[in-house]
């Protein structure tokens, strides 16, 4: 219905004539009537106007020139509320909406007996309060004497800072992005672009942050935290200094609001709706103006980071409605992070400049004080990667990822003038993070891959040794299991199946592919050729697939390559239309790997649980494929299912480790996932005016931007720029550096 109010009846930005105004009101009446007669009376749309209407939305009808949409909607709401109350009175003799709210609200402490909101929630709008009251099992307000006294509060003081005291503030950090961001929202459609990292992921503080060098945590918005006795509840005490960029204090109620926000349908982000849903985040409890607790559904060993959410500025949003997406498209929310995107610093289509807040509240806070050093981050659009590299060589970009072989060896060789003159450094930093899962994912539902032998044969027909040696020049290593990079949770001995023509032929023969046709491709007794389609969205890895294709011919296998645009390929794979898809997922840095999403049969078929298996454990015929899930291998094995279920319920880390190993083995035996490669390092080139701490960066750095421990040295920059004029060398410091502190095995 909100669409009808907002879009259909009142044309966007068009001044309404008198006739149209009348028409509009009439329409609103009709729509309201329809909505009331078709929906129940506790329609959340029917509520009184907000008392504190944001200044920018004030109606501008005093001169009769234009009508603000907001004003029309307020009127409609007011009318709707009166109508509802009246309607309800006639039906039951009272407003069911208001009465029920007060009941449940007073039980959870959200409102008092008289229906007034709790002092911590005085600024909440009616709708938000109503949401809390309705979900009173999720939102509770207790008094501070209810905080258990036995809690062991932690504050991260035992951890060491990973930044450098030598860091200097100032300068502009120049980076590039491939595409201009389609929005400055950090959630909702189009928000998940590369630019979001600068706004949110690398910037905004969570309650607590996992320490990137150890298994501990360091404080963020919360100064101290404690895990409750049940192992499921974490208590946080907010830092009293925590502020948003607009100067407002971070309040405990913002963490209530976070869930209102994340569960709202208006943000149009089903993944977040689900991720922050009731079934996982069971309860948020406020105790006083700086203490809260969050209860998770399970006592996971890494419970602290799982519930460590960010604050949502309630004072900024107030409440959400159907216009959320358009309203905040270019209006970034106030941030608790160092850098702020201001509308005046956006050059549409060209660049966005983020500015460091002058008196950032965390300026002196341990773990933050020597980070986020540049005054500005200028993110410019350069659509072509090679062009961006040329800009980098000219000094227009400060750092450039050199993971690609041809960039490291051919385009910026060690003998390059810029490197030998000491202007540029080439850095290899060995890190320890779960690698992106590059792999060929076999759809075990589609013939000929419904035969295990074909799948194993396919594994042995993939010459990744040659790919690693020739295309990546031995710098990458083979990934071995479905869960590499999770420390002890990764299987210690399991190895990926090696390239072997003989073994591949042996398994293909077992599956009935025994004879070679005239073109060298195997055929079975029905005359079917052993030809499979390999889909990918990675045009830049075309050469990898070409090598695999040519080598697979030796084993009598033909691979038909289908290289699409990333979105088209993603769509095809999501619809499970592929035979094999070559893709990768970014792995979260977390304690133990996830198996449910990619390997549980509930993500392969619509039929739930064990109903898809016959009593002897084999898969039934004619099941309905489930689309848009991460089970790209269509794995559906009862034993794996059961183990994954147990794994998800398990709370003991040793058992989790053991089960993770078992699962890795079982998936290996099921042979649906041909592991490709992983990079054990980060490799970048940077201008020497960018300085790094002594050991370059923390262990769990996934990219050079993540922890922002570097700084821009203005003096050096001037020196280098001057030296470049006559191409004279600037210093004899080594410019090719390798950091092996965190090199594993």
């Amino acid at each position: 219905m909100e669409k009808l109010y907002g879009k259909l009846l009142i044309p966007k930005n068009s001044p309404l004539t008198n006739d149209m105004k009348i028409y509009t009101y009439l329409n609103i009446l009709v729509v309201l009537f329809i909505s009331l007669s078709t929906q129940s009376c506790d329609n959340p749309k029917l509520k009184p106007p907000r008392e504190k209407s944001p200044a920018k939305n004030t109606p501008q009808n005093n001169e009769g020139k234009t009508f603000d949409r907001e004003f029309v909607r307020e009127l409609a709401r007011e009318f709707g509320k009166e109508f509802a109350v009246e309607f309800a009175k006639q039906m039951k003799g009272g407003s069911p909406l208001l009465i029920s709210n007060q009941d449940s609200g007073s039980q959870s402490g959200i409102t008092d007996k008289a229906g007034n909101p709790h002092p911590l929630l005085v600024d909440c709008s009616e709708e938000v309060l109503e949401f809390y009251s309705k979900n009173s099992d999720c939102f509770k307000i207790l008094t501070s004497d209810k905080i258990p006294l036995t809690l062991k509060w932690m504050d991260g003081s035992e951890e060491t800072e990973f930044s450098s005291t030598a860091a200097q503030k100032g300068g502009t950090w120049e980076v590039f992005m491939r595409d201009f961001p389609r929005t400055l929202r950090t959630i909702g459609p189009d928000a998940n672009g590369a630019f979001r990292s600068y706004l949110l992921d690398y910037n905004v503080l969570s309650l607590v942050h996992p320490h990137p060098n150890s298994d501990g945590y360091f404080p963020g918005l919360a100064n101290s935290w404690a895990v409750g006795e049940d192992g499921k509840t974490v208590y946080f005490r907010l830092d009293p200094n925590a502020r948003y960029s607009d100067g407002e204090k971070v309040k405990v109620s913002d963490f209530f609001f976070f869930f209102y926000f994340m569960r709202s349908k208006h943000i149009q982000a089903p993944w977040y709706n689900d991720f922050y849903g009731k079934d996982k985040f069971q309860r948020v409890t406020l105790y006083d103006d700086e203490t809260l607790s969050i209860t998770f559904y399970k006592a996971k060993p890494d419970i602290v980071e799982r519930v460590s959410i960010r604050a949502k500025p309630e004072h900024f949003y107030g409440e959400l409605d159907g216009e959320f997406l358009s309203k905040y498209q270019w209006d970034p929310e106030p941030t608790t992070g160092a850098y702020e995107a201001l509308p005046e610093n956006i050059d549409k289509g060209k660049s966005v400049t983020l500015v460091r807040q002058k008196d950032w509240w965390a300026d002196k806070k341990p773990f933050f004080r020597y980070r986020f050093n540049p005054d500005k981050i200028k993110v410019s659009v350069i659509r072509d990667y090679n062009k961006a590299f040329e800009v980098f060589l000219k000094g227009g970009i400060d750092m450039f990822g050199l993971a690609k072989t041809e960039f490291w060896y051919d385009k910026l060789p060690n003998e390059h003038r810029l490197v030998t003159n000491g202007y540029l450094s080439k850095v290899t930093f060995f890190n320890q993070t779960p690698p992106p899962s590059y792999a060929l994912r076999i759809n075990s539902q589609r013939p000929p891959f419904n035969d295990l032998n074909v799948r194993i044969g396919f594994h042995h027909a993939m010459n990744f040794d040659m790919v690693l040696e020739k295309i990546f020049r031995g710098d990458f290593v083979r990934m071995n299991t479905v869960a590499d990079g999770y420390g002890d949770r990764s299987h210690p001995t399991l190895k990926a199946r090696e390239f072997s023509v003989d073994k591949a032929l042996e398994f293909f023969a077992k599956a009935g592919y025994k004879k070679r046709g005239g073109d060298g491709i195997l055929v079975n007794s029905n005359g079917e050729r052993l030809a499979v389609e390999v889909l990918t969205g990675y045009r830049h890895f075309e050469d990898v697939l070409v090598v695999l294709k040519e080598q697979a011919k030796k084993a009598g296998l033909e691979m038909k390559l289908k290289i699409l645009e990333p979105t088209a390929s993603w769509k095809a794979a999501n619809e499970k239309n592929h035979q094999v898809v070559f893709s990768a997922f970014n792995s979260f840095v977390e304690l133990f790997p996830r198996f449910w999403e990619p390997y549980h049969s509930d993500n392969a078929y619509e039929e739930g649980g064990d109903s898809k298996y016959t009593p002897d454990g084999s898969l039934k015929q004619k099941l309905t494929t489930k689309v848009s899930t991460n089970n790209f291998t269509q794995t559906a094995v009862q034993k794996i299912d059961h183990l994954i279920d147990q794994y998800r319920d398990e709370e003991d880390l040793d058992r989790i480790t053991e089960m993770a190993h078992q699962l890795s083995e079982m998936i290996h035996d099921h042979a649906v996932w041909v592991p490709a490669w992983k990079k054990p390092w980060l490799r970048i080139g940077h201008w020497n005016w960018v300085s790094f701490p002594e050991n370059w960066g923390p262990k769990e750095s996934r990219d050079y931007e993540e922890f922002q421990v570097f700084w821009i040295d203005q003096d050096k920059k001037e020196k280098i720029v001057n030296a470049m004029k006559d191409s004279s060398p600037v210093s004899k410091d080594p410019t090719i550096r390798v950091y092996e502190d965190y090199k594993s095995n």
Binding site: Y385, N386, T405, E406, D410, K411, M466, K470, I471, R473, V501, L505, R516, G518, D519, G520, A531, E533, L535, R539, E542, D543, L545, V546, V547, K549, E550, K553, K554, A555, G556, K560, L561, K562, I563, L564, E565, A568, Q579
Partner: protein, 356 residues
């Protein structure tokens, strides 16, 4: 023998007399014929193998496995390796390799130092160097040329077929058919060609063979580009239709089909012929452009667009890719344009004297 109209003969003679166009035509045709027999000159398979007193001709037809020549593997024999073995053993066996012993798909990872982008080398018979995965550039250029030319010829034939049919029907029948047809053509012509091709190519099922994919790409391109020519045909047919000889044919009682085929088309054809070379040039450019953007032929099919893309992104490190590809593209398009100019000249009713 087809009896050529004396007028046409005269035009052909005039074409021959325009030396630049004529020789361009000869060169282009020979290049194409050469590329059609490309397997004999540029191929990883040997031309002749003499093994144990038996002669093998592996160029066309079935693969020979390594085992058949005493090598321990079942997959296709590596003839260059075989040649080396024969030479080392100094046996009576011998092998005759083509001039360039590589095919466009094969990666020549011969030793540890070969990791892509080898510069042109006479010793290794990579006359134009190799690309990112050590594939021979010359082989890819040649086979890419063959595909592009075949594609362009197919494109020409199909677009003309559609354009002639629809154009002459509109022109001859006139009236409502003409009016509606023209509107349809106008609408159709406004469908953005490149977008449509990109969209349709991305939904093509991958299990189609390369042949199918190439043909469907051809069909898609034809479907969205036949419109331009219909205007010319329609206009020419309109003009010719009002001539006396057509009225005469009608009076005699010739059927519309006969009139169109027998009387109208031969007189309209000169318009078409002058456009043909430029259509070929356009087809070659668009298939190259599509490949460059990544929406053309499925990898690893050899194609100039793909080579250009590799070349552009490795401009500094492997300049030979761009140099040879651009040179080939310029040469081909220049030849085609010369032919086009000459044809236009030869078919021009107002005889210019520039070339005589």
């Amino acid at each position: 023998m087809i009896q050529l109209n004396p007028l046409t003969l005269k035009k052909l003679r005039r074409f021959r007399s325009i030396k630049r166009g004529y020789w361009s035509f000869i060169i282009l045709v020979s290049l194409y014929v050469f590329s059609l027999a490309g397997e004999l000159f540029v191929n990883k398979r040997a031309l002749i193998v003499s093994y144990d007193n038996e002669l093998f001709f592996p160029t066309y037809g079935k693969q020979y496995s390594g085992k058949q020549f005493g090598l321990g593997y079942e997959y296709e024999v590596d003839y260059r390796e075989l040649q080396k073995r024969f030479e080392e053993k100094e046996s009576r066996n011998w092998i005759l390799m083509p001039l360039i012993p590589y095919d466009p798909y094969e990666m020549d990872y011969r030793d540890a130092s070969s990791t892509g982008f080898s510069s042109p080398s006479l010793k290794r018979s990579h006359f134009c160097g190799t690309d990112k995965t050590e594939r021979d550039i010359l082989a890819r250029l040649l086979y890419g040329f063959r595909i592009a030319m075949t594609f362009a010829i197919g494109y020409l034939v199909l677009t003309y077929l559609i354009a002639i049919t629809i154009g002459s029907l509109m022109g001859y029948l006139g009236g409502k058919i003409d009016m509606l047809g023209l509107r349809f053509v106008e609408i159709w012509a406004n469908v953005p060609f490149l977008y449509m091709v990109i969209i349709l190519v991305s939904v093509m099922p991958g299990w189609w063979g390369v042949g199918w994919q190439v043909s469907s790409l051809l069909i898609i391109m034809v479907l969205f580009s036949w419109t331009g020519m219909t205007y010319y045909i329609r206009a020419s047919v309109y003009r010719e239709k009002s001539r006396d000889y057509i009225s005469a044919a009608k009076v005699i009682g010739a059927s519309p089909l006969r009139i169109i085929l027998k009387h109208l088309l031969p007189n309209v054809i000169s318009t078409l012929v002058t456009f043909a070379p430029f259509t070929i040039a356009a087809a070659i450019s668009s298939i190259t452009a599509l490949d460059f953007l990544g929406y053309g032929l499925p990898p690893p099919t050899p194609s100039w667009g793909e080579l250009l893309k590799q070349g552009v992104s490795n401009l500094r490190t492997a300049p030979w890719i761009v140099i040879y590809t651009v040179a080939s593209l310029v040469l081909t398009l220049t030849l085609v344009t010369f032919i086009g100019e000459a044809v236009r000249e030869a078919f021009d009713p107002k005889k210019f004297s520039t070339y005589e």
